[in-house]
Symmetry: C3
Subunit: 421 residues, 3 copies
């Protein structure tokens, strides 16, 4: 795969495409399959917004690091000697070698494998052999990347001036996430899948559950059908009223336990997000096959396994489900116009013992199956939108309003990016 810095860029064509987007409808085909739009997506969306990439629990000790690639940008996230989490471009200042090739690891200093240029955990170059008199180590520090830590969820931004409204998200979301104490968790399982589809098809799929009944037999065990949205029908009124009562009662109970539950919807912010704690069906404890807790040891100070599921969605590329017993967290990373990485991590209490407190197969069964089903849906959508017969179709105002909020956010951010240049 190559990156081309000197390719002809038909920006005016992209402006036209963005300008003529029809609200309430899926996007025109080039948004899903052209190389030019893909490069613009990386430039205007993934390099200028806060991108969720990892959790603090993966790097508990000084020198622990994780790496990630956003587009072609290799990034290193580490915990320094002061227990602060920092992010750097994972690129040596000598001849550009990637510093850390592994996805996770632990180091004292960062030693480039090529010629042993050595950086401390603050990113300062502290050793470079064979360089001449007057070579200034201080001019060759690692290039930093902006990082924000939302109670253990790590977001990075590649822009020089990242969107400032991330601070409102941190402030508003902090109380929701804090009780789950991510710093006291560990990653019990991680599964990466590559979907043969554009990343926006992956995101649109995530932003609605219209498709759930027909496609997700495992996931829908624990989800109330009423939570998906639906067209108003007289015969559903009684069921809906019942569900709304369950939500009201649950919210009151959870809030009393220190678990904020009310919906916040800021999907149109630059650093857009939405959250809500929702009741789960049947046993109501967890997104498992029997809806019971997958881990005996509950998270943080949570006492009651029956705490529903706190969902948290961010623009442009993540979603998360926090339950009393475990957390499932997803990040979506574009690889090419029609391939996308979906990385899923399951977190449990750091002291939980595998085989005693939890079983990995049980913990991962629902979302592993669901991810596979969604992959198929995304891939079939990619085949279809490549057709010359494809035209943007209408979103349901009842079950796809959050898809519209993703798509219109995307279009707005592309407009802003094109204006800014």
């Amino acid at each position: 795969m190559q990156q081309s810095a000197i390719t002809f860029q038909p920006v005016h064509k992209l402006r036209e495409l963005v300008a003529r987007r029809q609200p309430g409808h899926s996007l025109e085909a080039p948004f899903y399959n052209s190389q030019e739009v893909f490069e613009a997506d990386l430039k205007y969306i993934f390099q200028r917004h806060w991108i969720y990439v990892a959790v603090a629990a993966e790097i508990p000790e000084p020198g622990d690091y994780v790496t990630v690639e956003i587009g072609k940008e290799p990034i290193l996230i580490l915990r320094d000697d002061d227990m602060q989490i920092k992010a750097f471009h994972n690129v040596c200042r000598h001849r550009g070698s990637r510093l850390c090739a592994d996805e996770k690891g632990s180091v004292g200093n960062l030693v480039c494998p090529y010629h042993q240029w050595t950086y401390n955990l603050a990113g300062k170059l502290i050793f470079a052999d064979h360089m001449p008199e007057g070579f200034d180590l201080t001019h060759h520090s690692l290039k930093p990347v902006h990082l924000k830590n939302l109670e253990g969820l790590l977001f990075v931004c590649l822009a020089d001036e990242p969107p400032a409204d991330i601070d409102q998200m941190l402030e508003q979301m902090g109380p929701y996430i804090a009780p789950h104490q991510i710093e006291n968790t560990k990653v019990a399982a991680q599964i990466d899948i590559i979907e043969a589809g554009n990343w926006k098809l992956t995101m649109e799929n995530n932003r609605e559950c219209y498709h759930c009944t027909g496609n997700h037999p495992e996931l829908t065990i624990s989800l109330y059908a009423y939570s998906y949205g639906f067209a108003p029908k007289a015969e559903l009124a009684a069921g809906l009223a019942n569900y709304e009562n369950i939500v009201k009662d649950s919210h009151a109970r959870w809030e009393a336990c220190g678990l904020p539950s009310a919906e916040i919807e800021k999907l149109s912010d630059v650093s857009g997000f939405r959250t809500m704690r929702m009741p789960l069906d049947r046993k109501g404890q967890s997104q498992t096959m029997d809806t019971g807790a997958a881990c005996k040891k509950l998270l943080g100070d949570i006492k009651d396994a029956d705490s529903g599921g706190l969902s948290f969605w961010t623009q442009p590329n993540s979603w998360h489900h926090f339950m009393a017993d475990h957390i499932v967290t997803f990040t979506v990373l574009p690889l090419s116009p029609d391939t996308t990485l979906v990385r899923t991590k399951w977190l449990v209490h750091k002291d939980a013992v595998e085989g005693v407190d939890y079983d990995v197969a049980n913990l991962t069964r629902v979302w592993n199956a669901t991810n596979g089903q969604d992959r198929h849906l995304v891939e079939e959508s990619q085949v279809g939108v490549n057709s010359s017969a494809y035209r943007p179709g209408p979103y349901s105002p009842y079950t796809e309003e959050l898809v519209e909020k993703f798509t219109s956010w995307y279009i707005g951010r592309m407009e802003a990016g094109l204006e800014q240049g």
Copy 2:
């Protein structure tokens, strides 16, 4: 693989390439290896002409369907409740998902796997959940694709106004093909191969047997060498006269049995084609290793296994061999500038019993071997034409005149397409 609707298209360069083509010679290299020409081939050739894709025998009952992709265009061909065969773009009108992912299947209605939008076999949308008041189902029918049924050979055309001369082909070819009764056959075997070469190299290879003696030991068992064409040489005169007598006698005998046999050559028509029934060598019954029938049960009302082979070639992408006992039918579909799908189907009488009336290994041996040999020739040609040293070379006027008729047809259709825009 991505499709780019906003890519810079150097149409004037293509016009120049087309205009300077030297008749009687193979094409210049960009015709075989450039992305731009490939996209033009899809646009001007494969989206504007009648493309052979399947046989009616594959979908005998209402609700039976086959799917195919022409370039990036997923197409669905089905038999409706009135036993009519129809073709549609295989794309849901909601968010564009492919409707049917399998190559063959059977359904009552067409239910999109994504959100269960449901179409009847006439392509009408009959169900779409969660849509608002006033949503008009009738505005969201599947988009139809033109289809013609030539006695069981199915051709589709993606153009709004397909070439009208298909009707002459149907009229002229009908009597040749009808006696083999494709509707009373079944697909005994299908083999898809992907050749690492441009589709036009595959077609040029198909349009001559100059290469047969040196490359096709299995195929040449049943073929008379005199049927390939050759440079006139005095020492061949006696053999040729003998062959011409065999053809004359055979044609008289076959015509008397209701099997039209005379050559028709319309390769320069927009819907270009050629046909001829030719005697086979040795036992003379079939393209098998011993030239005897591969299936005991003969096709249609044919009584005599010794009925030679009716060949039928179409522009731009198919050829077919009809014998008394079986049919072999080929379709060529471009995948990229240098990869091409060749799909081969072997048909026998629908009541023939595998293991009793025919053996699949015996039935497929000759053309499976021949396809593999042709793949190698095409792939070696692709390597060579990529060289800067490659220059279009001369076709033999005796053994490659049908290659010239393919190539000049192609150039003419590209000119027409470029003019039309």
Copy 3:
């Protein structure tokens, strides 16, 4: 993979890139990852310079041939009936098929597999069936490729007018290489690896040993650390003086045996090269794990296994190590902007018997391991230079001066090519 002859070529962008190159620093990212620069590299570097491709020992008899591809150019190198080595484009003049698909072989005449057009070993067309009266065989000879034989090292040039200074290289290098008598060797082993990196990263890696201490435990057994270059430090003075004495004594001894040893450095010539015979450490005989000879039968008339290692580097794509017992020879061939073929051959005396005189695993261990380590370094560099954070970094003036000589040669040749057009 396709070649596009009608693609938009942003030559002015390339001129700017070349013009602003900062001496003493690695190249800007597009030189390592853009399709446009890759195509320019093939055009201006690989099609206009002398490219090392094979050794004469691979084709000892008339009719023996080897094939190679430089970019998209398939080339055939053969020994003719007069024992002369010739090179041709490996492309039939009929419809462009590659003539010889195998990497090595032996033929009487060159018969195209497609339609049996037949060329003699001088490249003259001597048979073409079915062609009309007046077809002139003499107008359809194979297209020749320039070839130079440097005492058994074979270089080809695809330019119409190849760089003339190759003759100086032949004259100067002849006496160094002749004593190893390549014509009396055989290829004991060949290993091709494909590196996921740009070919210039492979070459830069080859042109310094700054990275050796940290990465090549096997190779450094036989290499004196002082031979790599280093920043001047007082504490190294004694060791350096000692090494310089070893070199001086060794050179005197080798020269007396007819083995020229003094450095020649012509890396800035159009046909740039460098050579030097260097002492090896420990037993000092060979680049093996115990530094002893890997083959009991010494090369040519060499009597003393303790003859050090003659290294020979050429611009743009080869290096070679000649020892008393064996030769290791490397050629680098670009495949795409970020993939590169590295072909390594180990030569021993043609009469040496495997299992008696030499063991292939022992012979190849050091460089096979070293190649694998270098592949990793090149691949990590490719990931890093793709980052937007990558900026050309400074070369060490002590240990990377030959990298600078490669890079500045490359930039100069690109300038010359762009000027010439």
